[in-house]
Structures are given as structure tokens and as C-alpha cells.
Amino acid sequence: MRVVLSWLKEYVDLDGVAVETLVERWTQAGLEVEGVERIGDWWDRERLLVGAVTAVHPHPNADRLVLADVDYGAGAPHRVVTGAPNLLPLREAGALDRPLKVVFAREGVELFDGHAAGWHKVVLKGRPVRGVMSDAMVCSAKEIGLSDDHEGILILDDGAPVGRPLADVLGDVVVEVAITANMARAMNVVGLARETAAILDRPLRGVDPATGAPLGGAGAEGRGAPRAAGSTPPPAPAATAVVADDAGDLCAVAIEAPDLCPRYTARLVRDVRLGPSPEWLRRRLTLAGMRPIKNVVDVTNYAMLEWGEPLHAFDHDKLVARAGGGVPRIVVRRAAPGERMTTLDGVDRALDGDTLLIADAAGPVAIAGIMGGADTEVDDGTRHVLLEAAAFDFINVRRTSRMLKLTSESAARFGRGVHPALAETGAARAAALLSELAGGRAVGTVADAYPRPPAPVLVTLPLRDIRRTLGVEVPVDAVLGILERLAFDLTHHVDGATGAITAVEAVVPPHRMDVALPVDLIEEVARVYGYDRLPGTRMADPLPPQRDNPTWEVDEAVRDALVAAGLQEAISYRLVAPRAEARLVPGAGDADAGGTPEHVTLRNPISPERAALRRSILTGLLEATAGNLRFRDRVALFELGRVFHPRPGEALPDEPRRLGVVLTGAAEAAGWRTGGGRKLDFYDAKGAVERVLAALEVDAAWSPGRHASFHPGRTAEVRSGDAVLGHVGELHPLVRRQWGLGDDPVAAADLDLDALERAAGRVRPFRPFSVYPAMLRDLAVVVDEAVAAADVEAAIRRAGGALLADVVLFDVYRGAQVGAGKKSLAWSLTLQAPDKTLEGKVADGARARIVKALERELGAAAR
């Protein structure tokens, strides 16, 4: 919200308070200041003054120019040449009966160039204009930087003091304040004034309860207004009738949906003259961020910005015409099925059954709290204005606003809650301004339907709860002072024995719709007392029971193992395109783009590329691999994270944790000693996974397996006992092509972290090692290609028994010497006895036993 300080100061005494102090204290107390704009802080105090045009004469040599005599408080008036369109009509006027107050600029002053596009500053220099010397000028709003208006010169209000530096008259400060959802009360000048008065402990200025106008008067300075006892008059006793037509023959109002509209008031202002608003009001609206339009609309906006009560102005004649010349009868009701209306912005809108309407006999005239209808809009022909001030259910306003995709200043306020008590003041203020500025007359009484005035809210706060929550003793006087300044009406609960106040019972003022619980009051105390006055302490509370977190520990161990193995961790978008995931399966590269039942699909994605949650951990890794291969010859990535699988009949998907690994390209980084040219393949991925298994102390077994994305002949299933831990393989060549991954093998792993966590921690007890010399024996056996190396090793270990300390495969050979369909596996055996030096013949015997076993079990032949 843009806060105009001159406006705010009409309601709270801020004399002697620096802007910096205000900014600091507002920010501390929850009104975050996002920027400060100083209007006119660059204006030259000597050369930019309030002037009065006392006479206008024709220019001797030009029809489109006039000579204006300007009194700027320096004795004789100063003559300037100007082509201002709004002075031109006065060229024959001579001396003016009512001098025009203007902005007078003297030679040497710096101003914005009014004629140039954009904002360029120029220095004013005297020069003859069509033969008449002119060394000063009268300025447009653009030339002094107030707005982009350069249509004519700026005419100030009649009360502007001649000769005063402009900075003292039009200078202002606008503070941009972020209003959080609980601060709706501060979204208007009066509400912010109340907050400011409480935060800074400054007096509020008085308000005329009949008109809502500040008693000091706009723009006046240096008055010592008495502090008002309370700023809003207490709600008047409410009319309980559903129909209140005490406005007689002017209008009648009725609420048919009291659940959505606690109060509806209307008052008639006769004989308004539509036209531009005075300069001060236009300036304030502009500074506050609203565009001035014409007086009736400007006044409703002004009253709304000031009091927080959104108002709507209907053209009363149009309502009468719609009522066939009779008394307009306004009804607040839900829309009927299929009902439509055209709003002020010219859009024809379809309404639903929860849309609250303001309607008359001929149909809807406004969408309650959001926008008026085009048919009853105020226009240049309007004579009488019917002013609506009401209160609506904030949830319904928000719902309808979202449903219609229609927002407005009014909806923004009603959508955060406006108390029904505010209707009177808001409307009174607008009616008074219409009388003052548009020549209107408020007539009749207010038609007021207020079926169920809300009961006052009472909150009891035990004072010890303040300490219990904040951890510090706030002095009782400070507590009481803060709450009283915030307009809570307090009753003290006193301990009979000690006389100490133990609790306060607070009557919540109507503008505090956010307060209902004791903790709401504690927050008020804390933020006004100042968070900076709370100490920082270390928790004295007992430490909770401490527990292991195997999930977290497994994730961290996996990361460390893979980083040590030379892999880089990646983190991908979990949101993907279902069609991208389809590319994980061979031949499905052109699958349609829509969501699939296999995916958790968003209803409101930002783009088709991020429309669903990933099913596979490989998606992001393959995308990253393709991207990195454009400028790298080696990519080795891993990622840990959840994947998402819908569960039939369940609202929430399954979210298993997966580990993905992708390796491709050069096995070694390019360097001056490398150059073998080996490419990363299945065995590199397997090695990385073996590191993970070792780090987690998992007993795993490897066997040929199947994975939808992997080469059928180059896929291993990793198991631990009965549990499948996942798969390691090389990408299926078609999948590799679908991802644009080039010709090198792409090795990958897709593992189940939940299963790994369950299998982890199989501690192998320490085995004492032998101190006696070992005997080494080599063994090469030829087996069928189909025989797995793991089976050969297992057979060797079984046959070797206790003497076999270690076995290492050191060569795999295929070729003419062993014949087609066969392979030779060469093993190095380490044989060792625990208690003595092994004799050579014993080692030979062991080797022979192993050979026999291999021949028998696997049809192997020793070479």
C-alpha cells in the first residue's frame, strides 16, 4: 500500500517524528516498508514558489500565447509568457476577480522538460518569446514531476499560500508498505494512523463522528488537535428488520442472504454536479496509486482509501427508471441459475449460485463487493447518487473474485474482511465530501439493513501467559498501555490477596477482526513492545529422546560413497513431461503428450514440460547427461530422491526413494598420462554400486536381470536375500537414441533406496588373519559362455574351503585357443593356513580339488 504521509498526519500527530524513525518502527511492528518516495525533495526552495495569476492579457504577436501577471509575494507581479491551454480562454480577461493559484518557476530552476517524451531535466533560462521577454514560467504537473500531465498548467487550490516554497505546500512523502494478511486493518489511512499512534505512542487527532472528517482539516499545519478518545464511533444500535425502508420513497433495501451480507446501507445524495475533483484530492489519489476520474468516483475512492470501507455509487435516476418510475427496491441475494450481468468494465459475465448480487426488480446491478454493473453506472448525466456501504462475507467475496477472475480495490478489501460497523462512517465521509466538492445534498435517512450485528468479541489474557510465551517479563504497565493504545477496552482481574493484576479481559474493537484468542493479544504486546527487546536464550527445556535416522544416514552414506567413486551429485526437477518419461522405454519416443494414469499429473501446471511428477529417477539424469555431453566427453552423475507412483483408490501416491546413476564417455579424464581411450560401461556402474553396497554393509548378489530401459543382455539385477535392490545395466540402444546420447555405451543404475536401507548394516564380524606365509596358485578354466563368473567363483570358494584365503579373477579370454561358445577364466588363488606354513604339496592338493569340483559342477576344463 502507498501511504501518503500528509494524509496520514491528518489523523495522527507525527510532529517531530522523522521519516526514518517511522520506517524503522513500522517495519519492526510488522508493517514492512518496501520503499520511500520523497515528492518534491529536489524542488528549489528559492525558485519554485506558489504564485497567483492576478491578470491575463493577450500576447501582442501571437494568438496561441498569453501574458500572465503572477504575484509570488515579491511586491510587483511578474509577467510571464505562456501557451497553457487552460489560460488561453482568459486572454481577454485582464485583471482576474479570483486569482488562480499556480506553480511559479524563476530563472535558473531545474525542471522536467514538459514537451519531451520521458523524463529529462532542463534548466530554465530567460528568452524572448515572440518578441516579449520571459524569464520565468508557470508549470504543468509534469514539469515538477508530479504526474505525466502536460495538458495545461497545474492550478492549485485557492487556499495555497502565495510566495511559499512549493516544497512546503505540495512536498510529500509516500511510503510503500507491505500489508500482510493479518493487517487488513492497516490497509487504509485511518487504520494505519491508529497503528502508528499505538506503535509510536503518539496521539490520534480527533474525527468528527458525524462525517468521519478529521477535525484538524486537510493540509492545515501546526494545530494542536486534542487526542480523540476513540477514532471510530461505537456501532449504533442496529436495525434488526430485514427490510429497512426508512429512507422513505427514496429507496428500500433488503438482505435475502444474511449469511453472506451482514449489513447493507444506502443513502441518497441529490443534485451532484459531475466534474473534476479539486487538485488536492486528485494529487492524493495519484500519490496513493489511483487514477483520478471525476469527483463522484474520486470521492468514493478517497473515502475507501481513508476509512477502508469500499463504497459504490449508483445513478439513482437509472434505478428509478428500472423500477418503472417507482421506488428502487434493492435486494442482496444469490444469483439465480444461468443469470448473467455486464459489469462496469463492459464484460458480460456468467454467474453461479454462490455469487452474491446486488439487484433490483429488473435484475442485478452489482456483484456484491467486487464490481458494479454497467447499467446503473454514474456518468456525466447523473444528478442523484445512491451510495452503497455494506459488509460482505470475505470468503464469499474471495471465492467469487477467483471464480470470475475479477479483482478490484473493493474486492481486495472485502476479501480480507470489513467490519459491518464501518459502513456508517465510510458512507458519512463520502456523503460529506460529495456535499463539499460536488455540490450534493445528503437527503433522507440511511436505509440500513443490519439483521445480525455481531456480538462484541471478548478475550481474556492471563498475564502469566505473556511470560510463558515470550520468555521475558513485560512490565504490567507496558502491557496495559500497549493494549489500550491499540483501542482494546480492558477490564482488570485482580488477585484478592496481593492486589496484583493477574489477567485482563479485552473488548476487541470492531476494526480488529484478526483478534479472537489470548495469543493474538500476546502478539500485539510483543510487536509493539519490540522484538528487539526480547533476550536471546538457549533452551532450558529437557532434550527430547534422541533417535537414529537410518533413512537420512543411508542417503548420506550413499552420497559419500559415490562422490568418493568420482561421481557428481545432480538434483533435477521432479516435475517432468510425461512424454519425456515415455522415452525411457524403447520405441515409445513419440508417445502422446497427455498425462497418463501412471503419472501424478498437475491440474494447473506452468507448462507441458512440467506437468507431472517423475516416475523414474533416470529422467532428470538422462536429460542432464544429454545436456552435458554437448561440452564434456565424460559424464558421471547420480541423484537421490523420490519418484511418484499413483495408487489406485488412494488420494496420495506412493513416493519411493530411488538412487539413479548414469555414466558415459571416457573412463579417464583427458590428461598427459592417459590415453587408453577406454569408455565407461556396465562394469563402471557396477563398481560404483559395489562401493555403495560396501558403504552400507549390504550383502548383495548379482544375476542377469531385466529393466525396461536397459539392454536385455547387459542388465544385472541386484538382490539381497529375497529383496530386489534394483538394476544396473547399459541403456537399451533405442533409449540411448531417444535421449540423443550419442554412440558410446551409457551405463546406469536404478536402485531402491528403501530396500537398500532395509538391507543395510549386515556387519561382518572381524576374522583373525593368518600370520603364516601364503601360497599363490593360478588356475585357468574353460567354461561355456553361459556359465556366470560368479558361479565359478562360488564353486572355487566352496571347494577351496578354509585354506582359500582369497580368489581374484585376473583374466577373461575368448578366442581360437578355447573355441567358439567358450571362455577362459583365469583366477589367482591365495592359499593359507591359520596355524602353520603351508607346504607346497598341500596347496597343490587344494588346487586339484578345486579343478575337480569345477569339472564336475560346471563342466569346466582346466587349461
Binding site: 500476546i522 526480547l534 536471546g536 527430547p544 562422490v563 561421481l567 538434483i571 498437475l602 532428470g620 552435458n628
Partner: protein, 342 residues
Amino acid sequence: MRIDEVQRQRDAALAALDAVDDAAALEAWRTAALGRASAVAALLGQIKAVPADERPAFGAAVNAARQALEAAFEARRAALEARALGEALGSDRIDVTLPGTLPPRGGLHPVTRALRRICRIFADMGFQVYQSREVETDDLNFTLLNTPPHHPARDMQDTFYVTDDVVLRTHTSPGQIHAMREHAPEPLRIILPGVVYRNEKITARSEIQFTQIEGLAIGEGITMADLKGTVENFVRRLYGPDRAVRFRASYFPFTEPSAEVDVSCMLCGGRGCQICKGGGWLEIMGCGMVHPTVLANGGYDPDRFTGFAFGGGVERVALLRYGIDDIRHFWANDLRFLEQLR
């Protein structure tokens, strides 16, 4: 006479040794001077021919000669070896400026690194990690956190919906409810790291996916002063002991009183710069006392228990630490980014 012969032979062998200049010649010399066919051996063979009274003197002379030759041999051998070593050291030079040989280097994602630092600091204060699911019910993400449907606070977070009742969590706070319901009425001290989602435009400053870390402490004596102390300790350990920390009032539906935490800008020292938009302060987390409604929803009696919660973005920690100018780097997995920050 015979003793003269011994000395003459000895001197001849020593003279020959002077000419020996390499290991092979030295070995040949040894064979010639001390071997079975050597003059010394021949002289020893003559001992029986020496008159008995001269034998002791002759024997002693031959032995002395042999020992002298052996000593000379050793000295010569040592000198030749020393010379060879010296030559080898001179010629076996390498270029020590060639790059070292390294196994391929892996690395952690910068978000993981930042999370580890944060978790370590909170672990020292007794906070344990708690994680929960990422697709949540609307109830857990909002309503149980004191944000019922159509509540104005819902405007603060643009939400991805799966169905009317199922959302991608917009914060890690649903984990607070999970943890409370799991452990009430035990006291609680946990941090909740995790991935969260917001329906926003992807720009240099905003993302649809980011990492959040929240903390939650519940007990019978937890106060806002404790919150302040805990957060101050954390911030100063993360960003440096000289950082000023500022708490100011704010609003979150699930805490009351609520605060924003600012830290004095570490890039300009608080004088004001582009990163802190001239204000000298950087907003780093939100926090507050757990709202009584949330405590009750989690199974704790708000008349007995109080608690505090805090939370902030993890990417921001890395952004500030490394001066990263664009948040979109984090999930792009570009090795040119990742390898710089590991």
C-alpha cells in the same frame, strides 16, 4: 726376501686398482687380486716351502697384504657407487610442474552441501532430522496449519494441485503435523529439510521447486526468547560471528507471534548494496511461536506446551555464499556450475 715379494705383489695390485673405473673392472680386479688364481693365493700356496722359522712372519705378511687389498676393494667399491648414485640423481630429474595424476573427482550438489552445514549446526543444538512426503493433502498442507480454505493467507503461496484435495506441498510444514502426531506428548526438537513446490514463473529469482528447511521445538518451557537465541546462534555460525540479526514482526498463519529474521548483509557489511537492495539487511527466514491451534492439531495441549518454528530456503544460503546470480542454475545440472561449487 720372500716378504719383499709379498709387498711387491701387494703394491702392484693396489696400483692396478687405481686404474679401475667401473663395476665390471672392479669385479675383474677382485678376481685377479683376491681370487684363487691371484698372486696372494699363490703366495699362500708357497707357505710350506718357507723355512719354519720364517713362516710366522711370512704368513702374517701375506694376511696383512690380503686385508689391505680387501679394504682397498671396499673403499673403491663405495667410491664407485657414490659416484654412480650422484650421476643418477643428476640425470633422473622430472618436471615437477606437470599436472598431478588424479582419480576422477566427484562432488556433492551445492544444495546438499548447504543442507549438511545447516543440519550439522542444528545437530549440535539437539535438533534431529525429520522428513515426510512431498505430495500432501490440502488438509495437512494448509488447514491443519491454521489456514482453512479461502483464508487470505493462501494468497501467499501459489499452489500446484493434483486434485481438489491433494497438493504438492508448498512448504515443509506438513511435516510438523506428522512429527507432532507421531511423538506427542514427548518434547520435540527437529529440523525438516525437503523439496517444496510453488506455482510461479521460473525466473532468475523464483522457482517452482526449491529446498526448504524448517525447525520445530516443542516442550513445556519453550519461549520466544529461546527462538531468538536459537536462531541467532544458527545465523552467526552460518554467516559469521560478526553478523547482526534482526527480528521484526510478521505474519504466518501457523505461528503467533510471528517474525521475519534479517541478517546484516555479508556482502556490504550492512552499508547497503545491490544484493540487499540498499537496506543493509537480508531476509533469511520466517519464524514464530507455534500457533495454539496447530499445537492442538498436532496433539499437544496448548495450555501445557509451547513451541517455536522457523524456516527458510536452502538455495538462498548457497546463493549468498557463492554470489550466484540466477536460481535457475540449481536444477539445470550443468557440470560447469556443479563442478565449481563442489
